[in-house]
Symmetry: C2
Subunit: 154 residues, 2 copies
């Protein structure tokens, strides 16, 4: 696992990556396994090593809307564990069995407090990532709006 492994660690040197590795553990996940649910207190950040994970949001009782599927090693999820209000904003479910690298939020925060460069770098990478997702989601809203415009015109 090097710094190119996951966007969250972009810019961290090997010494700091060793500290990251030291606070996490690998966990095995099975197809269909619920990793966490939207709204739950967020205790861990996850990185795909092998297999695939689907992120979903609850539309109404028992109807979930798929948001994205993560299948590349290094794909990261559960990052809302790193910012207030520390609750998962989506649900995560394993699609294809595999291995995840999991870091407990408390360990990440402790490491960030001890080594400000790590904390600062992770937060910068996280801000850039959320902005990217925000732009993508705005694109979806635009598409819905355009469809509406066309319906009104026709």
């Amino acid at each position: 696992m090097d710094s190119s492994f996951a966007y969250l660690f972009k810019g961290l040197d090997e010494g700091r990556m060793a500290k990251i590795r030291a606070i996490g553990k690998e966990i095995a996940v099975k197809a269909g396994q619920q990793i966490f649910r939207e709204g739950q207190e967020a205790n861990g950040v996850y990185i795909v090593r092998q297999g695939s994970v689907e992120l979903l949001t609850l539309i109404e009782k028992e109807i979930e809307l798929p948001i994205s599927i993560l299948r590349e090693p290094g794909d990261t999820f559960g990052t809302s564990a790193l910012v207030p209000p520390y609750r998962y904003s989506l649900s995560a479910r394993c699609v294809e069995e595999g291995t995840l690298f999991c870091m407990e939020t408390s360990a990440v925060r402790k490491l960030a407090a001890e080594d400000h460069d790590i904390g600062c770098r992770i937060m910068t990478n996280l801000a850039a990532h959320f902005l990217e997702r925000l732009k993508e989601t705005r694109q979806e809203v635009k598409i819905h709006f355009k469809t509406l415009l066309m319906t009104t015109r026709s």
Copy 2:
């Protein structure tokens, strides 16, 4: 201007707020004035002191979708100037004449490099803010999706 002034500076003490004030300037804006356009290279971060500003996104040629209106002193915009790829993700236009506090991106970056605590704090606040906006925008997508579901069912 204190640290409660804008979410971006939450957690900064008075000494650091003085440094923030020192790198910015107040500018007067008139109703209808375009402050920046979506896609442009982002050179400044803005905070509303007085008046109001509308954020918009281009749907198609000459059709803009309003995203939000900022009218509270402390409301902040143009923050995509602080993260790669350093381009405005929305357009900003003055609605009601007033005063903005403007910080040049280069000055913010210089200050963040000199005082890591400032940089770290701003990035943490920014990540939390983008996540909030992301959740709100996902809610809009959900509403569109629900409407679609209801149309299909009826």
